[in-house]
Amino acid sequence: MTISAGTFIRLTLLVLIGVVLQLAVVSQLMFFDSNADLAPLIVLSVGLLAGPVAGSITGFAAGFVVDMSLVQTVGLSSLLLTGVGYLAGRYRELRDASNSLVPPVGAALATLAFSAAFSVTQFLLGVESSVSPLLIRDFLVEALLNTLLAIPVFAVVRAILRPSLVEPNRPRRRSPLSGVRITTSS
């Protein structure tokens, strides 16, 4: 995907709206003391739809906005989400990413990997408090919630990026006479 000015604006708005929704609404919806995290979902979706370059740039930008708006360690979320976006984009290049199971399975894996990597870096940076084993339950609940949200988030991101995608999934219509499927082309 070529990152034009239009695509850049769309990705910027997507990241900003996603982060504001995450902080103001999604983080306040608790299920079993955990909540969904939209940032890895958005980055994963962009990577799967637009490839590793757009995925990693979106990951970096989303992480930067999250770290800045939450007044937390700057650069940490950027580093990890860059990896999520890049790997999702590489998957798109190497395997068939059009399967409908890819977003939910990818969301579960990306969320678990992001949470685990975030925790490891926190330990490396130094944690003085004790850590409860319930942290693992939080990871699993978060991954489950993100899996459930993956399909709608993927659909929203695809709708936003559709004009920029090289091979958009254009709706196919059936010929009224022959019943033969006709794919519209630009």
Binding site: V19, V20, L21, Q22, L23, A24, V25, V26, S27, Q28, L29, M30, F31, F32, D33, S34, N35, A36, D37, A39, P52, V53, S56, I57, G59, F60, G63, F64, V65, D67, M68, S69, L70, V71, Q72, T73, V74, G75, L76, S78, L79, T82, Y86, S115, F118, S119, Q122, V127, E128, S129, S130, V131, S132, P133, L134, L135, I136, R137, D138
Partner: protein, 296 residues
Amino acid sequence: MYKKSVRRRRAVLAVLVGLSIALLTAYFGESASGGLHAVQRGFMEALAPLQEGASRALKPASDFGGWFGDVFDAKSDNKKLKAENERLRAELAASQTAQREASELRALVGLNRSDGFPNGYRRVAARVIGRSPTVWYSTITINQGSSDGVRSDQPVVTGDGLVGKVSAVSSNAAQVTLITDHTSGVSGEVVPDGASGLVKARVGDPSDLLLDFVQKGRPVAKGATVVTAGWRSSRLESLFPRAIPIGKVTRVDSTERELYQRVHLKPFADLRGIDIVQVLVGSQAAPGTERAQVVP
């Protein structure tokens, strides 16, 4: 062509990873008044109106989602609360009697002091407009900032008890680090037993705090209340005033090999479901002293 695209992809990744590491290093290297911290405060200020708007507009949806979790909790809480209510009623009667006696005794010795927490503070009510999504950063964003008198390190409470302290301020918003954050440390005291220690978080479990460094042999009863100790020395004074309720003792761990007991508490304030908080503003440190916090 393919090689060019591979080189471009790898170059972008290398630049972004390098930039992230540079940001991390710069952030750790600078003080709280440094450039990146200032940009963070700017971000918070710019996003606060958007967050507040989104939070207000989507409050019904957020409440609806929260309702499911509350229904599960309400049934189990009901029995416990009834039992606690009976116990508290008995304690209230005893405490009112003791209070009357104490005020009579104070009048006798000429002391003029009013009880209740916290004295000398003005309370600024604020709405929670944002919350950190990760368990590693237990923070909330509130819709009151420096223009309302809110400053860094001021204590934040709800009607139930201590919530945390203000950690960053912009003109229209502030960030509060909760007592469940791994960087938080509050001096606490068990009442009425008097054992004291440091209240720390347990990452991953917001309903379990730890009162650490309690001397072995000091009696700590299950169900006892832990309040802020509000210590003061010749040069330093605690950020948190004395007697703000923190939580209730749920269990005590003590092994022969350890020097201290580890007391587990359940915080009084519902830290995962707070909508409104109060910032305690206005009180100055005593002359010749500075405010300080014990770090875990």
